[in-house]
């Protein structure tokens, strides 16, 4: 299997292409082909993973063909299968297959289900290319591919204006990040003459030749790309709006896989990020700010999917915190990413199941008491909830707690800052997730008229159960085995080990204490339900309901001047450029209109002009002869 890695990408790509090209002919069986493709990729990926485990060098590279060859720029269509891409392949295809299966049930009544699976498979193919590429251009290719699939799927129900707008918002905000990423690749090529990760003087081997300033610049540009794709501060605003897409899309693309591509990018580029301490501080700050923003806004939202979306923003903030800390924390961020892939996909699909039973209601103020009616969804969601808030021994505890601990190990006063933020985030996470859970499944019923909640069909709850099992057991597995498994990728990273500012056991206790306090507070506040409409609240809650005014900020600082600029340019175009062209045309037209008047139709005037011409010629001749 390790010699034909391209199959992993080709299978979903071909399947997606078939689904989109065959059209209505594939309507009856298309969704099953759509489920089969990632499942086959998963099996192949698993075989490759096991085979890689049996090898000593832990990295397989394949150059399929020369992709771009212009002058000094030589880029191969090359694949790299190493422990890091291996775990990503398993996450993408494994969780992806389950979500595909779920979508068969969830999208059953949608007449464009085949198209949906076509896009979904294209997404899986692009995401696999993203993690399997052996150079930055391959990564970029996959990066843009998932961006396209994300856009198509967010605005899948394009006849809803909000969905169409959300798709555009996601695409445009991603463009900001992608521009940064592209510039980073250009800069790497200019400075090093290569964009390959390793081998033949690849980027990672020669990053030491670069000046600190260049490394910082490359890193910031890469971080900009990562922030765009992963919904991190300051480019986080698109991710919650992306929930306008169908719920399986939110689960797969905007929770489990695509939005973690930024974490992958930084983890993959660990030699660059480890080479500059300032850069690491920037990454950690982005992570810490984002995780707090996500928690605070998530606690004030009433839309079940948006709460989960802000929770995703916040959890990816933890991952950025991890990759920013560097050293051993790279692997911690990756295991948190994997665990998050399980429990967040689980909860999103659970939310989809709730919406399915409640006629697409998304307002948690209108749920309540669903635990009796949707037992499986309730239990599986509970696993996800316990996992994300970090109750031992579920996965979140094993993966989040080490990141918090690592944040306290920076060796100077920043430990308190970042560690404190991470700890506070844990408490807030417990608060808003408990609020979501209690308001949805417990307390008095606050349904709208005519609701008959019911459990979803088996094809939807089977993936839920499997993901719930993953949420429960994955954490321990990851803490113990995946970290060592990832060693070959991160072993080049120098770890300047600092002592933790407070002992590990105390952090552990504090983490659990914060979680329990947050969860308990939310349980007490919301067990009796809540008002049906948002009530007036203090400045903090109001700000959180308005996304901490980040959207307003973007509108005032970027959108308005942008609009003015557009208007000014339109004015210049209309008056200046068009004016010049139109003026020339008017000059020629008007001039010829006047010249035309010479054709009077009177023979006499023609005769006069002929005579005048003759006299003129004669005069000229005489002047020459006699002169």
């Amino acid at each position: 299997m390790l010699t034909s890695l391209w199959l992993l990408i080709a299978i979903p790509f071909v399947s997606g292409g078939l689904l989109l090209l065959l059209g209505r002919r594939a309507d009856r069986w298309g969704h099953w082909l759509g489920v089969l493709a990632p499942a086959v990729s998963f099996v192949l990926g698993l075989i490759a993973f096991v085979q890689l485990g049996g090898r000593s060098d832990k990295a397989v590279e394949q150059n399929l063909w020369s992709f771009i060859a212009v002058g000094d720029l030589k880029i191969d269509f090359g694949l790299l299968f190493d422990p890091l891409s291996g775990v990503f392949v398993l996450l993408i295809t494994g969780v992806g297959s389950l979500i595909h299966l779920y979508a068969v049930g969830y999208m059953a009544h949608d007449e464009r289900r085949r198209t949906f699976f076509g896009y979904f498979n294209i997404f899986v193919a692009a995401m696999l290319l993203l993690v399997l590429g052996n150079n930055y251009v391959m990564l970029y290719l996959g990066w843009e591919g998932v961006g396209l699939a994300s856009y198509l799927l967010i605005s899948f129900w394009f006849n809803r204006p909000s969905a169409a707008t959300a798709g555009k918002k996601a695409f445009i905000m991603n463009r900001v990040g992608d521009a940064g990423f592209a510039l980073a690749i250009f800069l790497l090529f200019k400075e090093l003459g290569t964009v390959k990760y390793t081998g033949d003087g690849g980027v990672f081997e020669s990053v030491g030749q670069l000046s600190q300033g260049t490394v910082l610049m490359v890193g910031i540009l890469l971080l900009l790309g990562a922030c765009g794709k992963s919904g991190q501060f300051p480019l986080q605003a698109w991710l919650p709006d992306a929930m306008e897409g169908p719920t399986p899309v939110s689960a797969l693309i905007h929770a489990a896989t695509m939005v973690t591509a930024g974490v992958y990018l930084i983890a993959r580029s660990n030699p660059i990020f480890s080479a500059n301490p300032t850069l690491q501080v920037i990454v950690v700050s982005v992570g810490a700010i984002t995780l707090l923003i996500g928690c605070i806004i998530g606690a004030a939202k009433d839309d079940i999917k948006r709460v989960l979306a802000w929770s995703t923003v916040s959890q990816i903030g933890y991952m950025f915190l991890g990759v920013g800390l560097g050293g051993g924390a790279y692997a911690l961020a990756i295991i948190h990413l994997l665990a998050h892939g399980f429990f967040k996909a689980n909860m999103f699909l659970g939310a989809g199941s709730v919406m399915h039973g409640m006629q697409d209601q998304v307002d948690i103020r209108r749920f309540g008491g669903l635990s009796k009616h949707m037992k499986i969804t309730w239990l599986t969601f509970m696993m996800g909830w316990l996992a994300i808030i970090g109750i031992p021994p579920l996965s979140g505890y094993f993966t989040k707690e080490p990141i918090i601990a690592a944040a306290f190990e920076r060796g100077d006063w920043t430990s308190w800052l970042f560690g404190g933020a991470a700890l506070l985030g844990a408490g807030l996470t417990a608060f808003y997730m408990t609020r979501l859970f209690v308001l949805t499944f417990h307390g008095p019923k606050r349904w709208t008229e005519g609701q008959h909640p019911h459990e979803s069909p088996a094809i939807m709850w089977i993936p839920l159960v499997l993901l719930a099992i993953g949420s429960v057991v994955a954490g321990f597995l990851m803490k113990t085995s995946v970290v060592t498994w990832l060693n070959p990728v991160f072993e080049g990273v120098e770890t300047a080990h600092h002592e933790s500012v407070i002992p590990h056991s105390l952090i552990n206790i504090l983490g659990i204490a914060f979680t329990v306090i947050g969860a308990g507070l939310a349980w007490m506040l919301f067990q009796r339900g809540t008002a049906l409409m948002p009530e007036p609240a203090g400045p903090v809650v109001t700000a959180a309901r308005n996304n901490l005014y980040t959207d307003a900020f973007n509108e005032v600082v970027f959108e308005k001047p942008g609009r003015w600029l557009t208007r000014a340019l339109v004015y210049v175009d209309n008056k200046g450029v068009d004016g010049l062209v139109n003026g020339l045309a008017a000059l020629v037209g008007g001039g010829s209109g006047r010249l035309r008047r010479l054709q009077t139709g009177f023979v006499r005037s023609y005769a006069l002009s002929m005579l005048a011409g003759g006299v003129l010629v004669l005069g000229a001749l005489l002047a020459v002869r006699l002169g």
Partner: protein, 99 residues
């Protein structure tokens, strides 16, 4: 008698013809003025031939006469037709072909 007078006569005739073309409106008169100019040119050609002692000018004059005869035939026919359709022989009335 020097040939110079013939040239002067030709010039005078040509001028009369040219002025006639410019100021008269009747197509027939116009036509006669054109003939006057042609014949003035013929007279000049013959005179120059005489002055130079060659026959080139004479030959040219004959050519001009033949062409003028043909032109008269066609020209008169056109004038006739215009008169029939428009009931007028004034060239100013036939001014449709313009801007």
């Amino acid at each position: 008698m020097t040939p110079m007078w013939y040239i002067v006569l030709a010039t005078v005739l040509f001028s009369i013809g040219a002025v006639g073309v410019l100021i008269r409106r009747n197509a027939i008169v116009l036509f006669m003025c054109i003939e006057l100019m042609l014949n003035a040119a013929n007279l000049a050609l013959v005179t120059f031939s005489r002055i130079n002692g060659t026959l080139d000018g004479q030959i040219m004059a004959f050519f001009a006469m033949v062409v003028a005869a043909a032109e008269v035939v066609i020209g008169l026919a056109i004038i006739m037709l215009i008169f029939r359709t428009r009931r007028s022989a004034s060239v100013d009335d036939a001014n449709l072909l313009k801007y």
